[in-house]
């Protein structure tokens, strides 16, 4: 299981990584591997404001559809348009080219409530 040590995680397997004042989010390697081949990713409109834990989109694998949840509250500033043509980028490079959204956090202190890499690794290892 590959875990980005610079990122923090929700128990529902979304990651959040700081990039300047903004946050880049997607799903963990553990999540993409359990989902299997990802065939579609539905992402929010840029400009939308979402609360922590609110669904920001849907990831569809060959097997099933799963909701994606905001790791922190914030306003969407960009989405990864490349996923429309090549959703398998999430399988190939979930922390890099398979990123999903970039948002401006509304409450940067929410970061502290997320799991760090070690805690997430322990949590995901139980599954």
């Amino acid at each position: 299981m590959n875990i980005d040590t610079n990122a923090r995680y929700r128990a529902s397997h979304e990651y959040a990584r700081k990039d300047g004042a903004e946050i880049v989010a997607g799903i963990s390697d553990h999540a993409q591997s359990s989902l299997g081949d990802i065939v579609f990713v539905e992402l929010p409109e840029v400009g939308k404001t979402l609360k922590q834990g609110e669904a920001f989109g849907v990831v569809e694998s060959v097997k099933a559809a799963s909701d994606l949840y905001m790791p922190m509250s914030g306003k969407i500033v960009a989405v990864n348009e490349d996923l429309q043509g090549d959703p398998a980028l999430v399988n190939k490079d979930c922390y890099g080219k398979g990123w999903m959204i970039r948002f401006a956090p509304a409450d940067p202190s929410e970061w502290n409530g997320l799991m760090d890499a070690a805690a997430y690794g322990k949590e995901a290892g139980k599954e």
């Binding site: 299997g36 081949d37 065939v39 579609f40 060959v62 097997k63 398998a88």
Partner: protein, 352 residues
């Protein structure tokens, strides 16, 4: 792995479902489909019995011919779909795993009431079943077999040996590719499976194990039905587009009901839908594009790796069944644009 009809079945192998689909379309896929059941019908009344029970015309079949058929109840609804092989002195009927017990009981009850002597046996436990499918499947079979299966016409079968293992081989399948299905003694399963993978590799023929998810996307693209989806005990053959599998010149169980549907016209029709903006799945509602009224529901839907499309099969009101009709599919609560398209999305290789 996932439970399926009492079997522990691989949804996909480490290769991954999409790649497994593509390998089958470009080279050779091996399918462990031992869950399928095999019934044997024999006895002096066997020919007439099979003809009277299944929907397809069978009395014109010669020894070794293989043919698709439906099994209908008295109301003309689809209990199962079958592949029927006429072998010397017996009929070999391949049934779906989840319907095997019910099919067996149904055939046995019909046999008891039949005026001539008919014996029904369940050969499922003794028989293993593997499918070998793909553009190079026949080439690989010719390499390993003591007979040239390349000389078997499509929809025929024959007996052969692979490294001493006796195999009934049908040039049939469920993927839209050339290839075949192998029936052989269950105790040789691991040996034959490994032999096919190894000989494929040695000959430079890419050969991989393919799971249930790719089996589903392959059959879906090629327009083949899966019982419980495009056909089921609540669906008649006419609305599902299977008039061609009904031998209306003869008598069979459910014929009167089928003729009644033909006369009145079906109340709904099976269509293919192409969708933008999401993945359609079983159970999703289909709406009219203009009024937003519900006009049907999806019975299967997925991403199609070769067609590179998101598509569904749905039953809709006949007025919306014409190719090119714009409709909507409700995906995660939101109506998404869809259009009725010609089925199948992938024309089987042997029909081109």
């Amino acid at each position: 792995m996932a439970p399926f009809a009492g079997y522990d079945m691989p949804i996909s192998y480490p290769t991954g479902a999409v790649e497994e689909h593509l390998i089958t379309r470009r080279s050779v896929g091996l399918f462990d489909i031992d869950h399928m059941g095999q019934l044997v019908v024999s006895g002096p009344g066997a020919d007439e019995f099979v003809s009277a029970t299944v929907s397809a015309t069978v009395l014109d079949m010669k020894d070794w011919d293989a043919r698709y058929s439906l099994l209908l109840d008295g109301k003309g609804l689809v209990l199962d779909d079958l592949f029927i092989y006429k072998l010397p002195g017996r009929w070999w009927i391949v049934v779906n795993a989840s319907n095997r017990a019910a099919d067996l009981a149904w055939f046995e009850a019909k046999a008891k009431a039949f005026p001539k002597a008919v014996t029904i046996e369940d050969s499922s436990e003794a028989t293993y079943m593997i499918a070998i499918q793909g553009p190079r499947a026949i080439e690989l079979m010719d390499l390993v077999s003591d007979r040239k299966v390349s000389e078997f016409p499509r929809f025929t079968s024959g007996e052969l040996k692979i490294d001493g293992i006796p195999v009934l081989f049908g040039r049939t399948g469920y993927t839209g590719e050339d290839g075949g299905e192998l029936f052989f003694p269950a105790d040789s399963a691991v040996k034959l499976w490994e032999l096919l993978l190894a000989r494929g590799g040695k000959a430079g023929i890419e050969t991989k194990a393919i799971g249930l998810a790719a089996r589903d996307s392959l059959r879906f693209e090629a327009g083949m039905p899966l019982h419980g989806h495009e056909i089921s005990p609540s669906i008649n053959p006419i609305e599902a587009g299977f008039k061609w599998a009904c031998g209306l010149e003869k008598d069979f169980v459910g014929k009167a009901a089928v003729e009644a549907v033909i006369a009145a016209g079906p109340a709904r029709k099976l269509v293919g839908l192409e969708v933008t903006g999401g993945v359609p799945r079983e159970g999703y509602e289909v709406l009219a594009a203009d009024s937003g009224e519900k006009i049907g529901a999806c019975v299967a839907g997925m991403f199609c790796p070769t067609a590179k499309k998101y598509a569904a099969n749905a039953f809709v009101l006949p007025a919306y069944a014409k190719v090119g009709t714009k409709v909507q599919i409700v995906i995660h609560g939101k109506p998404k644009e869809a259009v009725v398209v010609k089925r199948p999305l992938y024309v089987p290789a042997y029909r081109r």
